[in-house]
Symmetry: D2
């Protein structure tokens, strides 16, 4: 302790008098007190506090990734902060159980008072989605209207600002594209890799052809799928084909970034690639938990209001179910394992390349 700071009282530090006076049930205001409205308010306030913290962590990560050169020290910090986000997400999911202690009948006691307020109006959650990298065109509109129009002017401004800056998706893509090992002299990694993959797929094709239990129809179907996988693989090394996949929405990440991500995953046991691998893995985890939260949220809404209109006039359940799949951002990272090959078939990295990676990732050595 370098000096004595003014003494602090716990309640003042946390601004509890403000915080704990911010619950004003409408049912009380309208003279029809409904006990469970307090639950409803508190649970949603807790959500918003967690969202604020997620934004705080996300902003730090974005700031670090906006730098021209990111040293490994900061990769470590980014991993730690995104892991923190995943721990928060687990709580977001689990605390739905608290909300579900309110039955639909209890909700009905105050539901009408809230119209047309709705969780869709959580501008903080929209900020999170934008900053992580949800594309406007993937955003499922609710009630045939953009969520944007239901927000206050102040909140629209915040949303617009969030869309001006590069998202985590874009920054990670750029960082991946900058990794130096993609064009190193004489090491023929990608050649060996291509051969390996072709052998693997041909092997799988053979397995299908030799399977006597398959019906003709199934056989055809399996062969078609094998061919599709092969096509996707080939696209990894063919700019035109790859861009075709992007146009179709199968891929979103650039070809260069995808190759870098693939390389990092395949050689993640190299100490120097450990943190980059952790970063990709933690981002995947974050995305998986957000989508799980959306799914659980859909079920809760279905249970709570059936197929009625949501308080925001949304068609509730049907709308939400679409967002679950469409709002995943890092789908490329999920798909990446399609392209993995067995470690035993991987060529050893040359000493020179390892060293180069070493200098790139931890420049202080």
């Amino acid at each position: 302790m370098d000096k004595l700071y003014p003494p602090i009282y716990y309640s003042d530090y946390l601004q509890l008098s403000k915080l704990l006076s911010s619950q004003k049930p409408k049912s009380n205001e309208y003279g029809k007190p409904a006990h469970d409205e307090m639950l409803f308010i508190v649970v949603h306030q807790v959500y918003e506090l967690w969202f604020k913290l997620i934004l705080h962590e996300l902003d730090l990560v974005l700031k670090m990734f906006r730098e021209e050169v990111i040293d490994e020290k900061n990769i470590g910090v980014a991993v730690a902060k995104i892991q923190r986000i995943t721990e928060i997400e687990k709580i977001l999911i689990d605390q739905l159980r608290v909300l579900e202690t309110m039955t639909p009948l209890d909700f009905l006691d105050f539901r009408d008072f809230l119209f047309p307020a709705s969780g869709f109006q959580s501008y903080q959650f929209r900020l999170i989605e934008n900053k992580v990298g949800l594309k406007s065109e993937n955003r499922i509109q609710y009630s045939n209207a953009d969520y944007f129009n239901t927000l206050s002017l102040e909140h629209r401004k915040l949303i617009l600002e969030s869309m001006e800056n590069l998202s985590l998706f874009e920054l990670v893509e750029k960082w991946l594209e900058r990794t130096p090992f993609l064009n190193f002299e004489d090491f023929n990694f990608w050649d060996v890799y291509k051969t390996t993959v072709e052998q693997m797929l041909d092997g799988e094709r053979q397995v299908i052809l030799e399977n006597k239990t398959f019906s003709e129809e199934k056989m055809e179907n399996q062969l078609r799928q094998n061919a599709v996988t092969k096509e996707h693989f080939e696209a990894l090394f063919n700019e035109d084909k790859y861009n075709e996949l992007k146009r179709k929405g199968v891929s979103r990440l650039s070809m260069k970034a995808t190759l870098a991500a693939l390389f990092i995953n395949l050689y993640r046991d190299e100490p120097i690639l450990h943190m980059p691998f952790m970063l990709l893995n933690t981002i995947l985890e974050m995305d998986e938990l957000f989508t799980t939260w959306r799914y659980r949220h859909v079920l809760m809404v279905h249970r709570m209001i059936g197929s009625k209109l949501g308080t925001g006039g949304s068609s509730g359940h049907a709308y939400l179910m679409q967002t679950v799949e469409k709002h995943r951002v890092f789908i490329d990272l999920f798909n990446l394992s399609t392209y993995f090959v067995s470690r035993s078939t991987l060529p050893e990295l040359p000493y020179k390349l390892k060293k180069e990676l070493g200098f790139y990732y931890s420049s202080q050595l």
Copy 2:
């Protein structure tokens, strides 16, 4: 302690020598040991042990519900056992996190050895689905083939047996249909209820019409939805319309059972209806957790094998995602809240009816 039983040794009681010698990694057998195959085996064995316990609990509940008269004592037991199933399901979901500590690359080290074994061949999970009440026609086929054909003869026999008996869905439906309050003299509950609902929906219609922020398109859409909801409501009191909904697959539960379930939910604060309400609520919870488990499972598979063939030759991710929604069994219970009306608008139950309910539900009084 009435007498001294022969002393027991913990390891013998749990048959640990059998249990702990049942892990035989294929990668060892083939001379290419992969450390994580042990994880893979143990996690799946733990799943199967939990499935056995779920079946044990489910069988007791089914047995009790096959009785002509079910006294409330057994409703209490059924609630407790299904709650136990829900606690197990939470573990099924959470332990996916253990499996996910294995990365796709680690899985590749032994994946080829397992072909065509696959989780789709878990006959115990198929038994659970059948006993809970998944209909054959709702079952999504995988790889264009029935899961049935991939099972051994012995397991097919078990599956066939499970389909001969009434499922939990059917037994609960029958139990609901038998509740006595559906045709009690002079109490005009359903009349009052119908009027209440009509007023509620007309009110909602009014709210839509008066909303000046709605675009024309949105207004139309909302009104259409309001009309659909009204139609569904009317079907509750019109056998022909209701059967039409059943044909369309919107409803599965019979009209009579749906009305009983509705009544139990609306009057669940009456002590005599407390346990019946708990039963319906716990079943809903069980269904919600199974579907959540399926969803998390799909994500895990996607992450693990990308869009490759599953070990069972399935197209993995795409197939699984369909099962998530289609394999929910008690969708009627989720939809039920569509028909709820505010407690304050409900008519008081007449003394005579309460008494009748009392005799029905706890015959020993």
Copy 3:
């Protein structure tokens, strides 16, 4: 919807502008910004919001139990609300994992600024403890001073008020004492029970005496314990002996209430006793989860500050560890299973008594 209420905006309803502007890191104020102070503030604010909700639920339960006659309807409500508290407690425990993503070194960056603020000054948590029924004399003092003195005058007043009213412990005790089955004519339940227990304990004694693997010392020890258990049992039927146990602090609940709780547990399969059993069981669960939270909290503090002074000048870890055991309130309910006997040895309840119970617990029939 009976009428159109004024439209509501999500952010206004939740008072987000107030809520989300209540985080003022001291490290910013002092010009030494520490990123993780935001985490620290938000996590504690979330705790306080949950505490507010727990108090909201607890107050309803206390209010219902202050009534002269509590009908079963309200027992059902009480069970539901206390179950809600247990779901919140699970979150309180799990969200420690979020806090633990901050390492001790990160905490050091702003720890000095907070002196002497401390979680011990959470007046809401003190209110919860008092309302549940923590006795002043069981409260472990921290830093040799009452927690009371560290609070503001306003918060001291709230604490004093909470101590004037009967706690959940006392109200449940009174409710148990009022149950009518404790002195019913001719049914000799307690006689049968006493005989059963004596036989059980004599059986256990025999098992000990016949155990040839026991050393002399162990045999003595086991016999001594068997004798102590017998003594405790006898105290159940002997006011003087029972009061002696209370004086020693072994028991806290009155003899009459303990017998009632025992009866409810033994006959909990009777539909009429189902909700009373659920109530006792849920209260036990609530107590178990609070003590688990305390334990996990102690570990977290130990990890975070080692054996240094806490920010409140407390000796941290050592103090906290004592509170874990001493702050359990419903220890009698944990101990109750000591007195259980096998269902098969229980006498059947006479019809007349069941009926009486029926009228007592659900007076509206």
Copy 4:
């Protein structure tokens, strides 16, 4: 896929016929079937399967740490495997909730049949404790007898073997002692550190002295504690004093290893120290979760059997509560934060040292 392996059937691979026929309730054997004995058996079998997996992971880590030189690649693997153990531990804790769906009365229906089998006889858990590094002298004996004597000869042999080899505690201690930075020329880290700590403690002393709200008694107490902390700090640099602390049981880790652990924690932001820090942190987490599991287990036993004899003749609750604190192994890592100083007061590591660390930890560069 290199070649076609023989097709595998899921049930055969998992040896389900063996696994699912290993549940033989004693209550069935004795003609007094108790439904919940199946739960009891399955839950404990699941525990044993998880224990087997923990041992599988632990053995790999021990093997890697027995090597003379451990390259960072393996530190990464060790971290991943111990993190896997922590995920399993979370499941061990959570699945107690499944066991707790059995009430004490239900347990009584078959409890007598199991005598004297007891969880204390889980040789696998004893192996885990020994391999992690629980010292024999810290092991709390139960029922005045060594757990060892209650085991079969075969299991005693396994236990003895586990005690012959170095434990994780000892291997980590050796690894820490070998880290090269403890005696590097001219860099006066420990001098700077000592000065910093002394200033910090003197600052804290000043804060205490200037606190006018402290009673005389409290002031004295706080000053005494400050003095004790100072003494402990001094011991870090004084072999005799440190060994005194070890004799008293305050510390267990060697002075050299403690200093290395301290250094790794203080400079954990250096990329080269990231994995070593993760390793220590993950081990701490593992220890914290084991102790949490023990605590929850104690509560469950208390609730289940009150203060009766355990099935193994143990005095149950009282015994178990002692083990919770005494069976923590890496208490030094918990205490380590006592010695932390603010990052801002830490001297910058010289380039030469960083480089040396680089070569030590990732020798392949």
